[in-house]
């Protein structure tokens, strides 16, 4: 059984796209924080992607992905009505959501979409959700409308100041933490340097900080340990122990190193793909 793409939207042309996939058995079970592993075709690799949203009644899940390598480029070449061979999930531990006064959800780049599902979970639990989102410039911001739909506050930062605060999400976060003592938790999803910076900002405030790690994975069900990371001095598997961990405990520099381990093969794969594309094989 293949999984049909019911909707495809290029959020940032050539860079970031959204697909709505028909996967009722996953939609029924998906919770904030969960991810799926998908494989495009018989020759494909298993790719972990966070679930950005779900609709259990329609039987669909929404995935937002950044085009970085061969698999994501190939996924981006698919259109509405096309099929993905394998979609497996929901995987990973769901976000631990408890009643808080205020929860700040920080998202950067594609991570905003993943953060959106977590923010929604906190909102549905009755928490006051402040979303802080950032990008280089205005037209690279994702999911602002969706977040506006349920978050009482959405704060925006852009590097160039084209909209919102000129600077980083961490500037807005720091200011908010200084002014607002009701914040019970900060959640951050985005590029590793951003999550690392968020943890650094929250540390002096002693506020619980949750980050969602995007380690390299193979099976996504605990079998291989490719996604292992050091948290609080112990080795953890992002796929079954996470993907969310205490930001103060994560060894971010190890994570960054491990994310690069297949860099050469990733380039080779991309070149191979481009060559095949030119020959009209895909």
């Amino acid at each position: 059984m293949a999984y049909k793409i019911l909707q495809k939207q290029e959020l940032i042309p050539g860079q970031t796209s959204l697909v709505v996939i028909d996967a009722p058995q996953i939609a029924r079970k998906a919770k904030p924080g969960n991810f799926v592993i998908l494989r495009i075709d018989e020759h494909g690799e298993r790719v972990p992607l966070t679930i950005a949203d779900k609709d259990p009644e329609a039987g669909t899940i929404t995935i937002v992905f950044l085009v970085v390598g061969k698999s994501s480029a190939q996924l981006n070449a698919l259109k509405q009505g096309d099929e993905i061979l394998d979609v497996c999930g929901p995987l990973g531990k769901a976000t631990h959501i408890e009643k808080q006064d205020t929860v700040i959800c920080v998202g950067g780049g594609t991570g905003i979409a993943a953060m959106h599902h977590i923010a929604k979970g906190h909102h549905e639990a009755g928490n006051h959700v402040v979303a802080i989102i950032g990008a280089r410039t205005e037209n690279l911001l994702l999911f602002q409308c969706e977040l506006d739909g349920f978050c009482p506050e959405v704060l925006v930062a852009t590097d160039d100041g084209s909209v919102g605060h000129k600077g980083f999400v961490t500037d807005l976060l720091k200011k908010r933490l200084e002014e607002d003592k009701s914040v019970g938790e900060v959640v951050a999803v985005g590029p590793v340097p951003m999550m690392e910076a968020v943890a650094k900002v929250t540390k002096p405030f002693g506020v619980k900080t949750t980050v969602s790690l995007n380690s390299i994975m193979v099976d996504g069900i605990g079998m291989c340990g490719a996604c292992r990371c050091t948290v609080g001095g112990e080795t953890k598997f992002a796929c079954v122990d996470g993907p969310e961990f205490d930001g103060q405990e994560v060894d971010f520099s190890e994570l960054k190193t491990r994310l690069w381990q297949f860099r050469n093969q990733e380039q080779e794969s991309m070149e191979h793909y481009k060559k095949e594309c030119c020959c009209g094989k895909h």
């Binding site: 099976d219 079998m223 490719a226 292992r228 080795t235 190890e254 690069w260 093969q265 794969s269």
Partner: protein, 474 residues
């Protein structure tokens, strides 16, 4: 009948050798090492069987195959008949003929082996299964069995599509009970697909066995994770009469030594899954990459360590060594695998215990430090355990290390089923006779009950559970 003549062990003659790819050729390819008997070789080997009145070989088989029965059919040149005899007790004969540790099971019990060489039962089993599969398995199976689902009102679910679950599914389907198998990965077969390499067990063999099972009416759903996509409770709610859990051992163990998360250090599960399930040996034609170590160290002494070492050799490593803290004779790997590995140029560094992995400033593995060991005084059991030789360490240069020191229970299904009782090691507690867990009509078998063991012992557990399920449902 070729088997009525009286025989004596001394007339049996030597064991028929297995044709193999030469070591220097096979170390450069992923094709199967053992090539299989020809009809002539199989007949000669089958004639060696003494057809004992009280066959001990059958007692040594975890699924209790009527071994002398199928060998007798080979002597009669009735290969379909031989296959039917094996299939009465074994759902995956082509797999078992290849990967079972026969030397400690059937062949280990063979009377001939007391003084001479045992009958090559595994090779004969493989010959029968391959001969049968070659002539369109599905048609033959459905021709000899009533393939219509006669027990329409019943249904059984299996979680995991490895050896134990497939055994349950094959057995129950042959009894007319509809079975649905839920597999987490994208391909059924479990360890037969992600773990055991192509050169030991070709994927096509597993695919044939699975196809034969589908032909019997077994439904296999891939990408369904037990405990995530579907829970035990869901299956009970959906009216499954019995549920069998065969999800395998799970999480790889690491060594807890410094440098374990350096780039270049892998679990055997990751390395083998990339190469086997992901077909990384065909990268970039297949998308899954793997690390191409030039100097590879493998830690461990079991079959998985042998598989990882031999895979690394085939992936183009200049040197591969297996580091093991005990002596070579104490390695739990099958002798055949160890011999194959050595013949392919893999170095065995016995009596070396891992101390640390060393990296460069970019976080890449460059060497590992090992502790030299020697055998100490015999302990209470009379075994001499390895002890450290104080101050004697060695630095082994390596750009890739593969850790093959076993597994621990996978938490996914267990966490989603908090009512199910576990044993003190965290595996599922199951009745040794029936396989039933603490939840009525929920059964378990294979590595998730015993911890990492063999394909055939998982199949034995599957068979016990399947027989119990059939007894209750029919």
């Amino acid at each position: 009948m070729g088997n009525t003549k009286p025989r004596s062990p001394k007339d049996a003659g030597p064991r028929t050798p297995m044709p193999e790819q030469p070591a220097d050729v096979r170390a450069g390819n992923f094709k199967e090492v053992a090539l299989g008997y020809s009809v002539e070789q199989a007949l000669i080997e089958a004639e060696r069987c003494l057809q004992c009145k009280k066959p001990l070989c059958q007692k040594g088989c975890p699924v209790g195959i009527d071994i002398k029965g199928f060998i007798s059919k080979i002597c009669e040149k009735d290969m379909d008949g031989a296959y039917a005899v094996i299939r009465e007790s074994n759902s995956l004969p082509a797999v078992c003929g290849r990967v079972c540790p026969q030397e400690t099971q059937c062949e280990g019990n063979c009377i001939l082996g007391k003084k001479y060489e045992p009958v090559a039962i595994g090779r004969l089993e493989r010959f029968v299964a391959d001969t049968f599969m070659a002539k369109n398995a599905c048609e033959s199976i459905t021709g000899t069995q009533e393939c219509s689902m006669t027990q329409e009102g019943r249904k059984v679910a299996c979680i995991g599509a490895g050896p134990s679950s497939l055994t349950v599914a094959g057995y129950l389907a042959s009894k007319g009970i509809p079975v649905t198998v839920f597999e987490a990965l994208h391909e059924p077969g479990g360890v037969l697909i992600y773990g055991i390499p192509e050169f030991r067990l070709p994927k096509s063999i597993v695919a044939n066995e699975v196809a034969a099972m589908k032909e019997l009416g077994v439904e296999i759903k891939v990408n369904w994770v037990g405990g995530k996509t579907v829970t035990i409770q869901d299956l009970q709610d959906q009216g499954y009469d019995a549920i069998f859990i065969g999800v395998g051992a799970g999480l790889p163990r690491f060594l807890n030594i410094p440098g374990e998360n350096l780039v270049g250090v892998f679990s055997a599960n990751e390395y083998l899954t990339r190469v086997n399930l992901g077909r990384a040996y065909d990268f970039p034609d297949y998308d899954t990459p793997t690390y191409m170590g030039k100097n590879v160290v493998v830690l461990g002494g079991g079959n998985v360590a042998m598989d990882a070492a031999r895979t690394a050799k085939r992936m183009g490593a200049d040197s591969v060594s297996i580091v093991y803290r005990r002596t070579q004779d104490a390695m739990p790997a099958r002798l055949e695998e160890l011999h194959h590995a050595i013949a392919e140029g893999i170095e065995i560094k016995a009596l070396c215990g891992p101390l640390a992995f060393n990296g460069d400033d970019k976080g890449n593995l460059v060497s590992m430090k090992v502790q030299k060991m020697c055998l100490g005084e015999p302990d209470e059991s009379g075994r001499r355990s390895p002890v450290c030789i104080e101050g004697e360490t060695e630095t082994v240069p390596c750009d890739m290390a593969v850790i093959a020191v076993g597994t621990r229970p996978n938490p996914i299904l267990l966490e989603a089923t908090p009512d199910m009782e576990l044993n003190k090691w965290g595996y599922i507690k199951a009745d040794p006779e029936t396989g039933e867990t603490s939840i009525p009509n929920v059964f378990a078998g294979g590595d998730i009950v015993t911890g990492a063991a063999t394909v055939i012992s998982a199949m034995g557990a599957g068979r016990k559970a399947a027989m119990e399920i059939a007894k209750r449902l029919l």
